[in-house]
């Protein structure tokens, strides 16, 4: 419950219906894309403009009320999970595309603009916005920046951090700060990179300048079938090692292909152990040359069948399965848990083999569908929450996959963020020395810890409780102490 004085001060800034306090009104905000965690906030505010955001933050700062900023609520790590005693600050009304400058190839947008809407608005100029998370029809650009979102085309065109020029944000104190610059480089510390992927812990984003790219004249996708998952994994490495940087390089295993085929009827080969989708884009000459090379590498890597899209409709059809993989898996299993680890590409075959072994051991099917070119795994563990013990075993299976990712030199999250979901994993991946820097930076921006508390960075106490000992490159901290 909100303190009445605070509640009336809040109502003076954002009067109803932009202020929701009744439990039935705040219910829709109790969770995001990670439905395992739920919490109802004390209030939800939907400001119209930046002036209101500033006033809200100043008020909350003075009263020490926690704030959770929220875009479209599609986070897969609980990034916008509310705090019971705090408010949710929704940026849903920040939906304007402020300007598109085709000569500078940039667009200035508000944080509530949907990812895909930017490319749609830029299309008349022959431009597009490259990062394309699979949820791009729904997710908002503000959330993309907060989570440093990726997508199928990030292999060639980079993550959100590579495609954002400038971010305007309101700090917890109500001060407005611009990060980055319109030019290639901004001087001083790279605070733009710091705020990108900071999961709403450092500021509330109110405006973003994104880079736009010229739409390639032609794109073609090759669909290659393999009779063995490890061979497909090795083929991914071979494509990259051949110096080819495809527009997209995605992999689906049999479990995923079968789920998807029932859903979209894209004509995927159902007998294949794994399918790779490899896209080439550019001018027609470049695409022809690159596609010939891709075909060659895939054949040498043991592909049993290669099909290349004949036209744009077929290309979109081949991609439709990949983009719809999550909902398709949702149809064949009561529940699924999506993992988001990233590993060096060369480790792919071994890690995939281990996941298959664990899947048998736990008796939990696992569909692999992922950004193979980046080494970004998305194993989907299928389970039934109503079956006793299924959920616990699923979480344990997922944790083991993430630990394996760290062990081979990777990370516990490639693009979904830490949120509430991976706080413990952070204790495993980062040594106390690094975690202390994270906490120091947080304090520099938000001394009272009011912005999105309990997310992103674990406290050292939590890590101590969790009892994970961090081992980096086989170097034990304090090797002089006797152990085990």
């Amino acid at each position: 419950m909100l303190d009445p004085t605070f509640a009336s001060a809040l109502a003076a800034i954002v009067p109803p219906p932009a202020l929701l306090t009744a439990p039935e009104d705040t219910r829709p905000y109790e969770c995001d894309g990670l439905t395992l965690y739920r919490e109802q906030p004390a209030a939800v505010v939907l400001p119209d403009d930046e002036t209101q955001v500033v006033a809200i933050l100043k008020l909350c700062h003075a009263a020490r009320v926690p704030i959770v900023a929220r875009g479209a609520g599609t986070s897969l790590s609980g990034g916008s999970l509310p705090v019971a005693e705090g408010i949710v600050l929704s940026l849903a009304k920040f939906r304007r595309i402020v300007a598109i400058d085709p000569s500078a190839r940039t667009a200035i947008v508000e944080p509530g603009v949907r990812n895909l809407a930017i490319s749609e608005a830029a299309a008349p100029y022959g431009l597009f916005y490259a990062p394309d998370p699979s949820s791009q029809i729904a997710c908002s650009i503000g959330g993309n920046v907060a989570e440093n979102a990726g997508g199928v085309h990030c292999l060639k065109y980079g993550l959100t951090v590579h495609n954002v020029r400038k971010v305007r944000a309101v700090l917890v104190t109500g001060d407005i700060v611009e990060f980055g610059a319109d030019a290639l480089d901004a001087p001083g510390y790279d605070l733009l990179a710091l705020i990108t992927g900071s999961e709403g812990l450092l500021g509330v984003i109110t405006q973003i300048t994104v880079k736009l790219l010229p739409k390639p004249a032609l794109a073609q996708v090759a669909l290659a079938a393999f009779d063995d998952v490890e061979k497909a994994g090795a083929a991914v490495g071979n494509v990259i090692a051949a110096g080819i940087v495809p527009g997209g390089l995605e992999m689906m295993d049999r479990e995923a292909t079968r789920a998807v085929e029932q859903f979209v009827h894209a004509g995927y080969p159902l007998d294949a152990a794994a399918v790779l989708l490899v896209e080439a884009d550019g001018t027609p000459e470049e695409v022809a040359a690159e596609m010939a090379e891709i075909r060659d590498v895939l054949t040498r890597s043991g592909a049993t069948e290669i099909r290349v899209s004949a036209d744009e409709a077929q290309r979109l059809l081949y991609w439709s399965g990949r983009k719809a993989a999550f909902p398709a898996v949702g149809r064949i299993s009561p529940d699924y848990y999506c993992i988001d680890g990233t590993i060096p590409r060369a480790a792919l075959p071994g890690v995939l083999r281990q996941i298959a072994t664990w899947s048998r051991e736990y008796g939990l099917p696992c569909a692999n569908v992922f950004h193979a070119g980046d080494g970004n795994l998305h194993p989907l563990i299928l389970f039934d929450a109503n079956k006793p013990g299924d959920r616990e075993r699923t979480v344990e299976f997922g944790d083991r996959i993430l630990e394996l990712c760290i062990e081979v030199g990777g990370t516990i999250t490639g693009e979904h963020g830490v949120g509430v979901e991976k706080l413990s994993g952070m204790c495993t991946q980062f040594a106390p020395e690094a975690l202390e820097r994270f906490l120091g930076i947080k304090r520099a921006f938000d001394a009272h810890g009011l912005l999105n508390p309990g997310k992103g960075v674990p406290t050292l106490a939590r890590c101590a409780e969790f009892g994970r000992m961090h081992v980096h490159r086989g170097e034990l901290p304090h090797p002089e102490l006797p152990r085990f």
Binding site: R105, L184, A193, L194, G282, G440
Partner: protein, 472 residues
């Protein structure tokens, strides 16, 4: 002298003694070596370190920084001293950590296109080591800088238009923090959404947040075909407009360099090139045979529409090397225009749509001052440099030159750009940073305070902080 000062002095002499004892001949206090470590390649700045230490391991760097932190003694990291903005000057004395002996390439992962190097590896040494793997590290700021120095200043160079700057090419770091601890950031994964982006925070922090000791870098496959071409114009505006159109079309050119007629005149003389002293574009194309041909044809036709000459090709390795060597020696070529004069280089970067306007205004400004100041730059990124020549013996000329440079910074900022496309802030551009980034400076200071509460790491640079305030 007050007590604080005398305590600090006492601490310094203790630290110096300890370093000499621990590091023997790798801790040097001779004036010549200290002088050599007091400046980069820009104008000399006041400030010699009290001692120069040559560590060989991460642990050694950590223990040096730990000692200095305990005694509140400044620590300045040093690579090979190619900075142009006074990054390495020891403004408050202290310990210079010369990383040149940490020069091992630790691993090369061919299949993953990455490598890990110690900070003191130079970019040329790295590329020599990569020979035979079919891979290369493209970032090329001209000088044969160390990878650690390039990461610290977020260097870019002639081919950033295609391969990005150090921001895009550093995957992870090992950093010694102000409290003398070793922190690993990032890693070999191509992307990570875990925790704040410490890697990019340390990249470009100019040694003020930590000392970079190891760098994980992205590598690239050597392109199948490379060719370079030269195109000359009667008019500077036409040359710049050609670049803008090419960039708007998104042609993936590997390098585009603009040299104005003054710079071209200097390069023709200095490097014995057979070209005219006219505004000139140097291009380099990377890709498949077909791709390279197609890119070149498109750009040649754009250039022709703007009155450019036919392309003169340099396809053989030696011809290309000669061309780019001439470009890299632009600074020395400019110096040779007027023997006896001094020079400094400035750096400006604007959104590409404002490039023509910015270059032309700068050009008229140069003419109005009567100084010689060639323009040269990586214009594909909207980035260009002035090499401002002045006679130190002539009263008022240095001030005139500095005024020109300050106006160039202000102009770039006014046009939505920045005063530091790639050389960094160091000490020369602190004022411009304040002008450009007023509202974010308090945050930068807060970050500095969080990571280096005693202000021992390269004090007085990049972000004005307590010690600088104390001096005033």
């Amino acid at each position: 002298m007050n007590t604080t000062d005398s305590t600090l002095r006492q601490g310094l002499s203790e630290v110096t003694e300890r370093l000499v004892r621990d590091y023997g001949e790798r801790a040097v206090t001779s004036r010549a070596v200290r002088e050599q470590h007091s400046h980069g390649e820009g104008l000399a700045d006041a400030g010699m370190p009290d001692i120069v230490v040559f560590p060989q391991t991460n642990d050694e760097v950590a223990s040096i920084v730990g000692l200095c932190n305990a005694a509140r003694i400044p620590v300045i990291a040093f690579g090979v001293g190619t900075s142009l903005e006074g990054h390495v000057a020891a403004l408050y004395g202290g310990v210079c950590v010369d990383l040149s002996r940490m020069d091992r390439v630790l691993e090369v992962n061919d299949a993953d296109l990455d490598c890990r190097v110690q900070a003191g590896v130079t970019r040329e040494a790295l590329n020599a080591e990569l020979k035979g793997t079919g891979l290369f590290f493209p970032i090329d700021p001209g000088a044969n800088a160390t990878i650690g120095g390039m990461a610290s200043t977020r260097a870019s160079g002639t081919n950033a238009v295609r391969y990005g700057t150090m921001r895009e090419n550093v995957l992870g770091l090992t950093v010694v923090t102000a409290d003398g601890r070793i922190v690993h950031t990032g890693g070999r994964a191509r992307k990570s959404a875990a925790g704040y982006d410490l890697t990019r925070l340390f990249v470009g922090a100019e040694g003020t947040l930590g000392i970079i000791t190891e760098v994980q870098l992205r590598l690239y496959g050597l392109p199948e075909a490379i060719s370079a071409a030269v195109c000359q114009f009667a008019d500077l505006k036409d040359a710049v407009d050609t670049v803008i159109v090419a960039m708007q079309l998104g042609i993936p050119v590997a390098r585009i360099e603009l040299l104005d007629d003054v710079q071209m005149d200097a390069c023709v003389r200095y490097s014995q090139l057979e070209f005219e002293a006219k505004p000139t574009l140097f291009f380099e194309f990377h890709g498949t045979e077909a791709g390279v041909r197609e890119q070149a044809e498109t750009i040649e036709s754009i250039a022709a529409e703007h009155g450019g000459s036919r392309f003169q090709w340099a396809t053989a390795q030696e011809e290309r090397s000669k061309l780019w060597k001439a470009r890299h020696n632009a600074y020395y070529a400019a110096l040779a225009l007027a023997p006896g004069k001094q020079a400094f280089a400035t750096d400006a970067c604007v959104p590409i749509s404002r490039l023509t306007e910015c270059v032309l205004e700068t050009r008229s400004d140069i003419a109005a001052t009567g100084l010689v100041a060639p323009i040269v730059g990586h214009v594909g990124d909207g980035n260009f440099h002035l090499v401002v020549l002045f006679d130190p013996a002539k009263p008022g000329e240095r001030e005139k030159a500095e005024g020109l440079a300050a106006r160039a910074s202000a102009r770039a900022i006014r046009m939505g750009g920045t005063c530091t496309g790639e050389h960094g802030i160091g000490i020369h551009k602190l004022d411009a940073l304040v002008a450009e980034h007023g509202d974010a400076i308090a945050l930068m200071q807060a970050v500095k305070r969080a990571l280096d509460p005693n202000d021992i790491l390269n004090p007085g640079k990049t972000v004005p902080f307590e010690r600088a305030q104390r001096r005033r």
